[in-house]
């Protein structure tokens, strides 16, 4: 690890680590194990749980509702992660090469969606998508009346509308992340690329993209996980509707555990969700590991 002077097996260290570690074990690791335990039982939240083995997993994973929730997560990942990362990469590489006045202001604004409570932004977007809201008003103003619709209530559009909120949330964040990454790239590499006669596109793939590999890993990890969980945004905009066209696993967990009294099934979905998140976390770490 580090070259700092260290005492071999410093027992004192445990005293420093213990408080944080116990907080983490008690309120994160232990509940996680409990979730596994719950997922193997049938329990209504009250009374005695009944052991059912893996039955909750079988029932839930074969339920069309949960399957569609998982599918919606995939679509949301496109909007929460892939589109923002692409947008961020493109804009960051276009912006990075020169000094611009007032960038500080733009940075503040572009990062803003990351810090405002999702309940608030969810409410703002509900209004944006309202039949009389800004988006439809604009469409009508430019003569596209036929496109105006209640976006969040439309089976064909609601999921994309929710997804777009995700893009709004993460695109600026990705861009700022990549700007930081690009600034770290040795300018000499760009010079060399120029001398080799590379155009901007070739330069992007040869120099910029490899240079921001760590940031790419961070951005994808954060945004993909954001797309996978996505409870707040969906809860505040559509609550999974219309029908079940925008439901996501987190919403199903909430509904099953706290509304329908099927705690075991909810826990099973939670475990599936956690597994997906861990796979994403580890996968990204492996994919974007910087070799040296």
């Amino acid at each position: 690890m580090n070259t700092r002077s260290k005492v071999k097996n410093n027992r004192l260290a445990y005293l420093y680590v213990l408080p944080a570690l116990s907080a983490s074990l008690l309120f994160v690791a232990f509940p996680l194990l409990q979730t596994v335990w719950y997922s193997l039982h049938r329990w209504s939240g009250i009374g005695t749980p009944v052991w059912v083995g893996l039955q909750n997993y079988v029932t839930q994973l074969s339920s069309p509702r949960v399957q569609s929730a998982l599918y919606h997560s995939l679509i949301l990942i496109v909007f929460f992660a892939l589109i923002p990362v692409c947008l961020g990469l493109i804009t960051a590489s276009m912006l990075s090469s020169s000094r611009l006045r007032g960038l500080g202001f733009f940075r503040t604004v572009l990062f803003l969606p990351q810090v405002i409570a999702l309940t608030v932004t969810g409410m703002a977007w509900r209004w944006m998508y309202n039949l009389d809201g800004p988006i439809n008003e604009t469409l009508r103003a430019i003569g596209l009346d036929s496109l105006a619709r209640p976006w969040l209530g439309d089976f064909d559009w609601a999921l994309y509308a929710v997804g777009l909120v995700g893009t709004w949330l993460t695109a600026g964040f990705c861009m700022i992340l990549f700007l930081a990454g690009i600034s770290r790239i040795d300018p000499g590499l760009y010079d060399a690329a120029k001398i080799d006669g590379s155009g901007p596109i070739r330069e992007f793939f040869a120099v910029t993209l490899p240079g921001v590999k760590p940031e790419l890993g961070v951005a994808l990890t954060i945004t993909v996980i954001g797309g996978l969980k996505s409870f707040d945004v969906v809860y505040m905009t559509t609550r999974g509707g219309p029908g079940t066209s925008t439901t996501v696993p987190a919403l199903e967990i909430y509904r099953l555990a706290f509304v329908d009294g099927q705690v075991g099934s909810a826990a099973a979905i939670a475990i599936v969700l956690v597994l997906l998140i861990v796979i994403v976390g580890l996968g990204m770490a492996r994919l974007f590991r910087t070799r040296q």
Binding site: W37, P49, P150, G153, T238, R239, G243, F258, G261, R286
Partner: protein, 461 residues
């Protein structure tokens, strides 16, 4: 400061750590886990016999409600009156928005500091609470106060529940209702007159014709915002009550063995609802508009009709005054007796966590008197007792009261289907949205309801 920490979650280490961490905590964890599961509730009320005596020391109660606007004000007025009579008693009104309420009432009621009094809808709310022992039987108080002598069994019936929480209408009294509830047609009087619509609809076809008239004039026929799926469900269930006989709805809700909701009439009612949508009689943004926004749009002049329960009466009449009208929804055939979805407004139940069930019951008895009719009526509630004595300000009030009379005379209440099972509405509401979007066949919709019912009652038997 400038390094990206992510790659530090490098796989080898985390995999190793994960496996060992599991082993480490597992043994300690699992033992405690089930203990937490069964951490249940105790009945603080059960030890002492019920009494009409209330203590003179300071007592604090809380009452949990979903009522809004004038209805909530009426509750507050009743509380104020009661507190004046019993200065040592304080009753706090807890409000929760209705969608959040139905999400969380079971959780809230299972906590040590659960509200003493809860407004709890029959069946789907009351059932789970009875099953879990979270609300107390009101039988002892009924004996002491004689509620069932005052309030007709037809109204008390839906507030009875078997002890396993599965059979509505059978068993002990768990809730006390004060007010009737019915679904009917609210209308914008000016618009109706402008369009030359006669609101004395004899048949559903006549009403459909009126919707068409509205559409031809560029108006929204039926106004509601269905983002959360509930208002649309209310509309359809009333249409169902127009087509199907009340008996089947009641037996469905009561869980009577062999009940089959998949009837031609039920399917026809879904087709009618779907067809209205396809004809463009509903608000353009129906599925993207929240319930509250829907109310606001109607009182603000959007739409000719609104089909909803009289729990919106106070809100509508406050905003629209003389311009608001009310009439019963017609039947398929003019010869049939009127039927309306509903029965009573949510009854009040007493938490088994309550430390003062006697005071809570005394407060309920205080409301269940004829002389409280006017206060309830001013809040838009149709009082079960003393309805003939109330004074109304607005034409819509008179119309609502008359409708309630008509309906009571023929015992035309059809009960909300949602009372049938705890998970019923989470099937009914999204599926009905599918129907409205022409993504589900009406027959498949009714079958999905029947299936939910059979899963629940099948498991019971």
């Amino acid at each position: 400061m400038n390094h990206n920490p992510v790659p530090d979650t490098r796989p080898t280490r985390l995999r190793l750590g994960g496996r060992r961490a599991v082993a480490l905590v597992a043994s300690a964890g699992l033992a405690v886990s089930l203990a937490a599961c069964t951490g249940g509730q105790q009945n603080t009320a059960s030890n002492e016999p019920a009494s009409t005596e209330i203590p003179t020391d300071p007592v604090e109660l809380s009452l949990w409600t979903v009522q809004i606007g004038p209805a909530q004000e009426a509750l507050q007025n009743l509380i104020d009156e009661y507190e004046e009579l019993h200065p040592n008693v304080t009753i706090n009104l807890e409000y929760t928005e209705s969608a959040a309420f139905s999400d969380t009432f079971k959780l809230r009621m299972s906590e040590q500091d659960a509200p003493d009094l809860i407004e709890c809808s029959q069946g789907n709310y009351m059932g789970p609470l009875v099953e879990a022992g979270l609300i107390i039987s009101l039988e002892p108080y009924d004996e002491l106060y004689g509620w069932s002598d005052r309030i007709a069994e037809g109204f008390l019936g839906p507030s009875r529940m078997s002890d396993d929480g599965r059979s509505l209408g059978a068993g002990q009294l768990y809730g006390l209702p004060f007010a009737g509830q019915l679904t009917g047609l609210y209308y914008n009087r000016e618009k109706v007159e402008e369009l030359g619509i006669d609101t004395d609809f004899e048949t559903i076809d006549e009403f459909t014709a009126a919707l068409d008239t509205a559409k031809e004039a560029g108006e929204t026929g039926l106004m509601f915002g269905n983002l959360d799926g509930d208002p649309g469900k209310n509309v359809w269930e009333q249409v169902l009550s127009g087509y199907e006989d009340k008996q089947i709805q009641r037996e469905f809700v009561q869980g009577k063995e062999g009940t089959d909701l998949v009837t031609d009439k039920a399917i026809e009612s879904v087709e009618q609802y779907q067809d209205w949508g396809n004809q463009g009689y509903f608000y353009d943004g129906v599925e993207g508009t929240s319930r509250a926004d829907g109310y606001a749009l109607f009182t603000g002049g959007e739409g000719v009709f609104a089909l909803d329960g009289n729990y919106v009466h106070g809100t509508y009449s406050e905003a629209m005054g003389d311009n608001l009208g009310f009439t019963l929804f017609p039947r398929e055939n003019a010869a049939d007796d009127p039927q309306a979805n509903g029965a009573t407004e949510k009854p009040y139940c007493i938490s088994s966590m309550s430390e003062n069930p006697d005071v809570a019951a005394n407060f309920l008895d205080f409301i269940a008197q004829e002389d409280k009719a006017q206060v309830l009526w001013d809040g838009g509630f149709v009082p079960l007792l003393g309805a003939d004595s109330v004074v109304s300000d607005l034409p819509a009030d008179e119309e609502l009261l008359a409708a309630w009379q008509t309906l009571s005379d023929v015992d035309g209440m059809t009960y909300h289907l949602g009372w049938a099972t705890p998970s019923f509405q989470s099937i009914e509401m999204p599926n009905l949205q599918e129907v409205l979007a022409n993504r589900m066949e009406p027959e498949a919709f009714v079958e999905s309801l029947q299936q939910n019912w059979e899963e629940f009652y099948g498991a019971a038997r």
